[in-house]
Symmetry: C2
Subunit: 183 residues, 2 copies
């Protein structure tokens, strides 16, 4: 089975390709440039994006929106994670969290899939905390400052852990189950 | 002369009403809920918004987009100023700037006006710096952490100064001149 992933993020593409391959789904890349809506909900962003992608591609396609939600800062950067990463980098987040006892954070992913039957969504969450410093070289985005609950390493220090535990992995798993139900 | 201002920000409405009244223009409020595009350019955001407002209202109308651009953080929060103010508040900006020698910042406003002749834009800039702490009670938004060049007080400590010096004042002045040329 083959399916399109509409994204410009090669980090996301690599992870999804690897994870879905293990369950027999081949990911094809649809390089997709699109102006995301402003919303605090990753599901709203993903639902809007996938409709736009389907309109262009006219083939079954999914998109993925991920946000890092920091409790202390009211869910910042949330749905603005990609643009805030560009402006502030991991350095900016570490600075915002300096001396902060409440370091709780959530990585939240929503996959939206669209075909002739309409849109379905799948979610994946990973709770954790913001590290005290930038650590590790693997992964991408905020991986080097996020420690999942129960762990001591950041996602960027243990990519194997990430691929078996992450918000993205969980959402892709839920997504693949829903695909099997539909087909 | 009467003209609509499409906004949900009552702080902006109050300032524009006061400033334009002094030059003989009466501002009417169009409470306008609209999903802004994501862009790093306040002019792009304003141009898109005013077209949408005009389509709804079908009367000559202007919108205003303002961003605070901090040099150290690559123009953060910029066009995301309103949403970042909600998440981080002035407190978050002060924290990001702790111990930072480069405190340069720019308040940039773009007014976009649309009538049967199409869209025109007016700009207003105010250069300054981020204060070391939150100071003053007047104004709104980031006024209590912004000190204009040549001054020692934040905009929130001296609203009279703000109304004669600010990005918003300058953009409204340029806007009113362009209106006179058009009519």
């Amino acid at each position: 089975m083959e399916i399109f992933f509409a994204t410009t993020n090669l980090g996301k593409l690599g992870e999804a390709t690897k994870i879905l391959k293990e369950i027999g789904i081949k990911v094809k890349h649809f390089p997709f440039v699109y102006n995301e809506i402003r919303s605090d909900s990753i599901e709203e962003v993903a639902r809007d994006a996938v409709k736009f992608a389907y309109k262009r591609l006219k083939e079954p396609v999914f998109v993925e929106d991920t946000g890092l939600f920091i409790e202390k800062w009211n869910g910042f950067p949330g749905t603005y994670s990609a643009v805030m990463l560009k402006k502030l980098g991991n350095e900016g987040i570490i600075k915002l969290m300096e001396g902060e006892p409440n370091r709780a954070a959530l990585f939240d992913t929503c996959i939206a899939y669209h075909d002739t039957n309409g849109t379905t969504v799948a979610h994946g969450k990973c709770y954790g905390r913001i590290s005290e410093s930038i650590r590790g070289k693997s992964g991408f985005g905020f991986d080097s400052i996020f420690i999942p609950d129960g762990g001591e390493q950041t996602f960027a220090e243990s990519i194997e852990l990430k691929n078996k535990l992450s918000h993205r992995y969980k959402s892709l798993l839920e997504f693949s189950k829903s695909l099997k139900l539909r087909r």
